[in-house]
């Protein structure tokens, strides 16, 4: 669905993204994991042309994005920001309906789509339809942000640290409702995060990034149990026990004991 070939992006003298290539299959949830400054957000922004690469090529759905009008491309790609970016002068209903309106949907279709999404994201329309963004809590605002990104049924959804600004309890709740959305089943998602826990929870494939390059990619199990080198091994070290414990069937005692021994050894 998304094909990225030899992308490079420099800011001044700093190479934010350094000759990166990867593919994301249709319906796949790809998570780019890395510390801040690893280039993952830059990479994400190039997929909907918020940033233009210095060199390399990106295709979405088989079409080179450089050949498309950026506005049209963006209307077919949902985008969720860490800082949400709701339009403060639009009601919740107008915020969610913004892309369908740009696409010229008729008013009734927009209204029913908005109602539908608000129901699914636990924002009772009767209560919140006419509310303003500043009247909502952080978690509610991010639910609106998700709804806005999904409103026009985009085949691709880009998410930049979407739950990063929320407190842990709210984050878990929003993430849960997000995962249960049926529209996501066919949607190709590229999500950027520095939260290992989140990456493992949401990813089909994880792309571990460092210094503008992909260090290792694969399923969560591959990254956890077969790290390709020093950086991937160290990256998960902190949370290894918890991650492994979650991934091991609860009656596989030998594996559990191995994991625990490993954990104890590391803690010294």
């Amino acid at each position: 669905m998304i094909d990225v070939a030899n992308i490079t992006k420099t800011f001044g003298t700093r190479r934010a993204v350094d000759n990166v290539s990867f593919s994301v299959a249709e319906g796949e949830n790809a998570v780019f994991l890395g510390t801040s400054g690893s280039g993952k957000t830059t990479l994400l922004k190039m997929i909907n042309r918020l940033l233009e690469p210095d060199s390399g090529e990106i295709s979405v759905g088989g079409r080179r994005i450089a050949d498309q009008r950026p506005e049209e491309l963006r209307r077919s790609i949902g985008y969720v920001f860490q800082n949400i970016g709701l339009f403060p002068h639009y009601t919740i209903e107008q915020n969610i309906g913004v892309v369908p309106r740009l696409l010229g949907w008729d008013a009734r279709r927009i209204a029913s789509r908005v109602r539908d999404l608000m129901d699914k994201l636990k924002l009772p329309p009767a209560q919140y339809k006419a509310a303003w963004p500043h009247e909502l809590s952080g978690g509610q605002q991010q639910r609106v942000g998700l709804a806005r990104a999904l409103a026009a049924n985009p085949p691709v959804l880009l998410m930049d640290e979407p739950f990063g600004a929320l407190d842990p309890i709210t984050r878990a709740a929003v993430r849960k409702d997000f995962r249960e959305l049926d529209e996501l089943r066919s949607t190709t998602i590229v999500l950027v995060t520095h939260d290992v826990q989140e990456a493992f929870e949401l990813a089909d494939n994880i792309f571990l990034m460092d210094k503008g390059a992909i260090v290792q990619h694969g399923t969560p199990d591959q990254l956890l149990f077969h790290p390709s080198g020093e950086y991937p091994r160290e990256f998960f070290e902190e949370q290894r026990f918890q991650l492994e414990a979650e991934r091991i069937a609860s009656d596989d005692y030998p594996a559990l004991i191995r994991a625990f021994d490993h954990f104890r050894k590391n803690r010294g």
Partner: protein, 524 residues
């Protein structure tokens, strides 16, 4: 109470004029504001996208803002002449900075996250501008427009100086005539206008976000309607155009006298005397009010029309001195009297011409004159006391004061302290009465009409007679203020109507009656 009564009387009597001026004032304010918004708003938007140009554009607009308004109007005259065009241009330049700056800071202040989101959802540049940037920056931009409006209401009063109308006509007429009622009749409506417009625009500024796009669409229409209120100052239709100072417009021995005594009907604009001469010289005006000894009469080849019905009272200049000073320094009066009868109209005009037009120093001009008349003596000790000389703020007074200073130094043992440039009549007179100065040159007509205010019957009896006016003011000053009028210097700096010599000759106009007759027979 009396003041308030006379204020309402004045407003009632002049309501037509007041209304016309107010409407002109609103029109002037908004026509320039409209242009400022049409140019400033796109410029402000442009510099949010081209940061490098921002400093330059804001810098230029800022510099324009620091030019004193009178000076800016002055710069406009050689370029654009007189009338509405230079006034609107100057006002527009003043309104520009707040509009550009607030557009820039307003859009700049929109949350970058929101602006990025607008890009990410697929809005085009135009959609982002009209749906996001302008709507969210609206309160800040409106604050800029409010500032510009209030500035314009204030500066527009100066439009009266260059024949563009507005409430300044009353304000500057009132200042010139020392007529508080008249000043207030212009100043109060101007202040109320500023407050009212500020209030109305504050309502717009705080429009709820949802309705802002409607306001953004309606605002240009509103500005256009208000701008159209500006209609040119129209008077009687006549081929010749007169430009009178605000002072002249309000005086009995001015425009009022011309209309009642002569029956003069001429299309008239109000204009400051600083630009009036240039305007008549450049054929923008045909008739102006002026002073009969003004040096510019000679410089611009103008001719004073004879006042054949004697509506302009005589304005003979003479030194006015505190009596206690004359008693303390007996040498003083003879020294001052040396100038009596020495300077007639044409000599004074020539002296004024040297200073005003040839830019000679008043001191040098005074010195050369005294030498040529054999009156000059080199200074003596100057240690027996000090005489404080005052003067009003125009060249003729400077020249006279310099002559008196040289005479006092040469013929007495007194020192001289010159306090020149004391504004108008009222300031000089108050300074003299309150013992801040000892002597200044005053004019009989001014003393009669601006200081003494005699009853109408008395004024009629004195009218036109040089000696009776002099005797009257001399006696009154002596009795009321303990001030002494010494002998007149000789010239009569009275009001006069002036025309270009060439045109007056061509139309065969020599007197004001000739002018009146010409206009009667030459209706458009």
């Amino acid at each position: 109470m009396e003041q308030a009564g006379s204020f309402w009387e004045f407003v009632h009597a002049q309501s037509g004029k007041l209304l016309q001026q107010t409407v002109q004032h609103i029109g002037l304010t908004f026509i320039s504001l409209l242009i400022a918004v049409l140019i400033g708003l796109p410029l402000g938007i442009y510099i949010t996208r081209h940061r490098r140009a921002a400093g330059f554009v804001l810098g230029i607009a800022g510099v324009l803002q620091t030019i004193p308004s009178i000076a800016l109007l002055g710069f406009m005259i050689p370029l654009l002449g007189i009338g509405p065009l230079p006034a609107i241009t100057a006002l527009f330049l003043y309104a520009l900075l707040p509009v550009i700056r607030n557009t820039y800071t307003g859009i700049d202040g929109v949350d970058p996250g929101v602006r990025e989101a607008a890009v990410a959802v697929g809005m085009t540049a135009t959609q982002r501008l009209f749906r996001i940037d302008l709507v969210l920056a609206f309160p800040v931009i409106m604050a800029g427009i409010r500032t510009a409006t209030v500035i314009n209401v204030g500066v527009a009063t100066l439009a009266a100086y260059i024949a563009a109308g507005g409430l300044g006509e009353f304000i500057f007429g009132g200042i010139a005539l020392d007529n508080t009622t008249m000043i207030l009749a212009g100043a109060i409506p101007a202040a109320l206008l500023a407050i009212l417009l500020d209030f109305l625009l504050s309502l717009l500024q705080h429009t709820a976000a949802a309705k802002r796009r409607t306001v953004i669409r309606l605002l240009p229409v509103l500005l256009l309607v208000l701008s159209s209120l500006y209609v040119l100052p129209v008077g009687y239709g006549s081929r010749l155009l007169a430009g009178f100072t605000p002072e002249f417009m309000g005086r009995k021995d001015g425009d009022i006298g011309l209309r009642t005594v002569y029956g003069l009907r001429i299309r008239t604009v109000v204009i400051s005397d600083a630009v009036m001469y240039k305007a008549i010289f450049n054929r923008k005006l045909d008739v102006i009010s002026g002073y009969s000894t003004d040096g510019r009469l000679q410089a611009y080849d103008l001719m004073a029309l004879t006042d054949d019905k004697k509506i302009f009272p005589p304005y003979y200049a003479a030194p006015v001195v505190r009596k206690d000073v004359l008693e303390r320094y007996p040498q003083l009066a003879p020294a001052l009297d040396l100038l009596a009868g020495q300077i007639d109209d044409s000599v004074m005009t020539a002296l004024n011409y040297q200073v005003e037009y040839l830019h000679e120093q008043p001191a040098k001009c005074a010195h050369d004159f005294l030498v040529s008349r054999g009156l000059y003596r080199s200074p003596r000790a100057g240690n027996k006391g000090l005489v404080r000389l005052g003067s009003k703020i125009f060249p003729e007074q400077y020249i006279l004061t310099e002559m008196y200073a040289e005479l006092i130094r040469g013929y007495t043992d007194l020192g001289v302290d010159s306090k020149t440039g004391l504004g108008g009549t009222q300031i000089c007179f108050e300074a003299l009465v309150n013992d801040q100065i000892d002597c200044y040159p005053e004019y009989t007509g001014t003393a009669l009409l601006a200081i003494l205010h005699p009853p109408a019957a008395e004024e009629a009896r004195l009218a036109g007679s040089r000696d009776s006016v002099y005797q009257y003011v001399r006696r009154a000053f002596d009795q009321r203020y303990d001030l002494e009028w010494l002998a007149p210097i000789g010239f009569n700096n009275a009001y006069a109507l002036m025309m270009r010599r060439s045109q007056a000759r061509q139309l065969n106009i020599r007197t004001i009656s000739d002018l009146t007759d010409y206009l009667k027979n030459d209706k458009l």
